[in-house]
Amino acid sequence: MIEWYGQHTIIIQTSMIYVLLAYSVQLALRAGVFSFAGVGFFGLGGYATAILAIRGVPGPLAVLIVTLAAVLPGYLLAMLLARLRDLYLGMATIAFTLMISVFASNGGELTGGAVGLFSIPYWANTPVMVIIFVVASVLMHRLERSHFGRGLEALRENQDLALSVGTDVLKQRKFVFTLGTVLGALSGALFVLTFTAIDPETTSFRLVVTTLTMVILGGVGTWIGPVAGALIVVWLPVYLGPLEKWADAIYGLIVVVIAMYAPDGLVAVVRRAWKALWSGRNAKPEASGLSTPKKS
């Protein structure tokens, strides 16, 4: 066990970092906010942490500063964009993410240009990361089950109805958006201190794909989705072997297949299977949106 842990420390840490990143997008999507800004903030937070750590700020302090400071740009971006709906917001936040990469390539000495920053002081403490992970997960769980969290779900299902029963829709959208950016920044900060390097490629289009793979794979509906998705995405390459150079294609294929055949994600599939198993043959077919074809 100890030996196994020694061999896989970095993958275990990566899993937790990616779960946080996946949370940042899942949280937004669950409330019907098509925001991928968390991915951009992963890069922003990563670079900020790297810049601080290289200048001698201790790792834990850098993480704390960056995570807290992310609230401000996150909220500013939310004020700017949270009004946008659906595809517009998705497009604007993807553009924002690509922009971070442009600024990173042009940042000169501060960001190290196209080469990026490296030999950043290593600080990745598994117990601390586990604590962060657990706290974030409990928070996500509470957010899901609380009155407020259910309000967020209503936001996704029917914004007009939510508005009519007195929900401040715009305020909630901004909140979700900002929380997503903070989670993204936290994840990026931990990433940099684990891998001790970051370059503009880190926050490119590919990371958007990876993040969306995790979220769609697990399912948008619940916080367990991103956990399952991140675990699969992080651990799959370990067992891919010679197929590794096709890893991107495999992720892509997974996303397409899930989107086509299990739009609620693997967690929902497992849950349904579990229920079916327990209720036996007499079970009525479950009234899930999944199997009802859309009339148009």
Binding site: F34, L80, Y88, V102, V209, I216, V255, V256, P293, S296
Partner: protein, 296 residues
């Protein structure tokens, strides 16, 4: 004046690329994030057929357009069609199609990288197309530039006329407005969306081949930065508006040329993003809004 010619050429490439995207988004409500990958895929076809068989230029253009068009058609017929059928509501369909197209993009990018053997940039064989420069006083215009501008502007006019006056174009506009009634009126949404997607892909393919010849070679990531530019063009011009795309593409190309002229040029890609933010803040419907309201 030379700068104007160059900007016009660049703008025509942008235009060819964004037309397909705006067409699919405006009429079928698909933000096809695989559009950039399809564009690169056409260049890949050009790269492969010229290096293996030494085909002539018109054939390469034809094959590239056909390949890119069929590819987009297949994505629509296999993936998007299924997603439209299983989705609970329009928002879920939009998210799933966004995710699936991102997955397709990842697959295509991976194929491109592996087929070009990681050689970073790839192009057609030099003998495929002979660039002939013409001089008008101090101004240099190549036959390629003539062709790009001619095709770009020519296709825009053709497409605008087609959408405005042809039976299929009228049906397409109706489909954007009210798909349900459209079905009652005997419009076949499946074949219509197939036509639209084929046109969208073929134009991206044309842009891909032309840009590859114009620049000599492109990299597998060329599609990503074009996506960012196309976003800003679509937002500036208004989703679904053909003329808007024309104005947006030329405006972006002009702005980029000016910035390139007066600065070191690293931030050229930032203009597109700045434009998105600015337009969304000041005039969210774009400068030439299409007839349809309720977009943002």
């Amino acid at each position: 004046m030379q700068q104007v010619i160059n900007a016009l050429t660049l703008g025509s490439i942008y235009l060819l690329f964004s037309l397909g995207l705006t067409l699919a988004w405006g009429t079928l409500k698909v933000l096809n994030l695989a559009h950039g990958a399809v564009f690169v895929f056409a260049s890949l076809i050009g790269f492969l057929v010229t290096h293996k068989f030494g085909l002539s230029f018109p054939l390469v253009v034809g094959l590239g357009m056909l390949g890119a068009g069929l590819l987009t058609l297949l994505i629509d017929a296999i993936v998007f069609k299924r997603i439209r059928q299983i989705s609970r509501d329009e928002r879920q369909a939009e998210l799933l199609m966004l995710a699936a197209s991102l997955g397709v993009a990842a697959i295509l990018a991976s194929v491109t990288r592996n087929l070009t053997l990681e050689s970073h940039n790839f192009g057609l064989t030099p003998q495929t197309f002979t660039t002939i420069p013409y001089f008008f006083g101090p101004i240099r215009v190549t036959n390629m530039q003539f062709m790009i501008v001619f095709l770009g502007v020519g296709l825009v006019v053709a497409l605008a006329l087609w959408i405005r006056y042809s039976r299929a174009g009228r049906a397409l506009r109706a489909l954007a407005y009210d798909p349900a009634t459209c079905g009652l009126m005997g419009v076949n949404p499946t074949s219509l969306s197939a036509i639209a997607m084929f046109i969208a892909g073929a134009m991206a393919g044309l842009a891909g081949i032309l840009l590859t010849v114009y620049l000599g070679a492109i990299g597998p990531e060329a599609g990503d930065s074009l996506m960012l530019k196309a976003f800003s063009i679509i937002v500036l011009g208004g989703v679904g508006s053909v003329w808007g795309a024309l104005v947006g593409a030329m405006f972006l190309a002009a702005a980029e040329s000016i910035v390139l002229n007066f600065t070191a040029g690293g931030y050229v890609d930032a203009i597109a993003f700045g434009m998105i933010i600015l337009v969304l803040l000041i005039r969210p419907r774009g400068i030439i809004p299409a007839e349809k309201a309720d977009r943002v």
